[in-house]
């Protein structure tokens, strides 16, 4: 098995789907000759040509809106939004159109499409190149929301997303693109189903829920607190919508304690939904308050280096939160 990076997993997944199904194509800003500003589509323009790897005009609403049109016709678009921070111009097409098309036509029309969205901070991107946007989309019925944290899941989930019959918001933890490496088999097809969470570290004392880069920091923190005798279970949610309630509830039934970690702003963030599910359905299991560790409620991650570290939860802070919760 080869060890590859997260972005390489993504690229392999897209490449295989482009190869497999000629209805699949990629559209977005700079995805062609440039190979994407993060190089996620590198080499695909050369391999599939400008008719299937399409540089869009600088207009996100149209990237998604055009994608929807092609999907209605039977194509399988992969739309790239260059940074999560620039998805808002497309909000109307995503929420009003992609998400509601199937329901509003009683299933007559569907929108099989993937919207790829590099998100998150820690790359010196300041207020507008660091944002997390999952809470917005996880609130919208009709959308699925997926976040891989490993090269294997990146490959397996992008392939499943391309094959999904409806719209998938595919959030890519961009700080992990090259930082996160992992083994991915070369001789078998890698497919990871949309839906199930993954218990990436089993434990008994408390449950830590996370996704994307934060999942890695949580694992790191869990190793650290293990040295102090705390045995944390870490769960990579992977699919935020629909969320894997069973796995979440089973874990908390076992541990009695829950910590949710994300880098998006705290208030109304994705963690609120997990906390609400637990408050409603795990009442009898909980031995301690549900804790959320998240980005602070400032508009976004500020640029200056000390600011950035201040904003972003890290292994230190997570470890501290684990210890506090375990001691409750």
């Amino acid at each position: 098995m080869a060890e590859i990076t997260l972005i390489e997993g993504l690229r392999q997944g897209m490449d295989e789907e482009l190869e497999r199904d000629e209805r699949v194509f990629i559209v977005g800003e700079d995805v062609g000759q440039r190979g994407g500003v993060f190089r996620a589509t590198e080499g695909l323009y050369e391999k599939y040509g400008e008719d299937r790897i399409i540089d869009s005009p600088l207009a996100e609403d149209s990237i998604v809106g055009i994608g929807i049109g092609t999907a209605l016709y039977g194509m399988r678009p992969i739309c790239e939004i260059q940074f999560a921070d620039f998805i808002y111009p497309a909000f109307n097409q995503i929420v009003s159109e992609a998400a509601r098309m199937c329901y509003r036509s009683a299933g007559e029309w569907t929108v099989p499409m993937v919207i790829r969205v590099p998100y998150g901070g820690g790359i010196g991107g300041g207020l507008y190149h660091s944002q997390s946007v999952e809470a917005f989309f996880a609130h919208v019925p009709g959308l699925k929301v997926v976040v891989p944290s490993t090269p294997y899941d990146a490959k397996g989930l992008i392939k499943s997303s391309v094959r999904d019959p409806g719209p998938v918001i595919f959030l890519e933890p961009k700080r992990g693109y090259r930082l996160i490496r992992g083994e991915v088999p070369e001789d078998e097809e890698v497919l990871v189903p949309i839906g199930p969470a993954r218990i990436s570290r089993t434990g008994t004392d408390l449950s830590v829920f996370a996704y994307g880069m934060m999942h890695h920091y949580c694992l790191e923190a869990a190793e650290r607190v293990a040295q102090e005798g705390i045995n944390a279970e870490v769960i990579d949610l992977r699919t935020l919508k629909p969320v894997d309630r069973q796995t979440i509830l089973a874990s908390v039934a076992k541990t009695g304690r829950a910590l949710i970690v994300h880098e998006d702003n705290l208030t109304g963030g994705y963690g609120a939904e997990i906390a609400a599910i637990l408050a409603e359905e795990a009442f009898g299991d909980l031995d301690a308050p549900v804790r959320r560790l998240a980005g602070p409620d400032v508009p976004a991650m500020p640029y200056s280096h000390p600011f950035e570290s201040w904003f972003m939860p890290d292994a230190d802070r997570i470890a501290k939160a684990i210890l506090e919760l375990a001691a409750f």
Partner: protein, 335 residues
Amino acid sequence: MEAQEDLQLNLNEESLLEMYGLIVLSRRLDERTWVLHRQGKIAFHISGIGHEAAQVGAAMALRRGQDWVVPYYRDLAMMLALGLTPKEFMLGVMGKKGEPSSGARQMPSHWSIRRMNVVSHSSPVATQTPHASGIGLAIKMRGDDAIVLTSIGEGATSQGAWYEAVNWAAIHKLPVVFMVENNLYAISVRQDRQMAVEHVADKAAGLGLPGVTVDGLDALAVHRAISEAAARARAGDGPTLVEAMVQRMTPHSSDDDDRSYRPRAELEALKAQDPVRLQRDKLMDMGLLSEQAETEVQERAAAQVEEAIKFAASAPYPEVSEASYPVYAGDRADG
């Protein structure tokens, strides 16, 4: 003369009469729906009265069932021309079970006819325009023999989404016809508060595609303009913007009251230019429509309308259990 050309080139006698029949049917259906609303029998109606000639002229310039259509809410006459039945329309108006465009999930006049390649659209205006360009892109990618027509009001062309979508089609020379039904009003807002150009067709120059303005009260003129645009699209020469000057002869919708913003005299004046009468006169001038045939057309339309109302009125409401799906493709009641 031009009409003679139409007769030779695109339309035979039969199709001219079909055109007129559809225009009349649409008008009767539309008027009757207003009555239902006044009687308190339905909750909402949005009307195409004054737009019919343009819509039928446009629809009949397409290869129906082969070409694609991405319409907007005023397109009742266009939908009838594309095969929507009065019964289907009435099911929608009454929110009844089996309403084919949305299963009674959307408000009336939010079209979708899958069998005729008429794509589902929503209420937020101009969201449909990128879909049309996307369909055009897909047609081009697949090398299929089809084009797509999308319609919109002049007010909605103020939306950024509209420009972005037309821009795509212009850059990639997509087989799209952008039809604008300009009735000079967006609810209460007049065209001069909506744009600084004289004609919506002028917007084409800024986007790099041809734009034409045509008399939308004349079905044949619209038919000609759309046929030309469709021919360009089919030939791979790219999109065209066709602005049809129509008139909104009613309030915006049954929720609207236009007295605060629309002079009564203006509305009165429109009646002298009623497109239904104009088409009738034209056909009579051409010797294609006798008084007797006219009576038959009217009676047939009236009968269809009454039958549709009876049918829909006695149809059941949907089961509440239907409301919970399909949120995702493939969802079923039991899932």
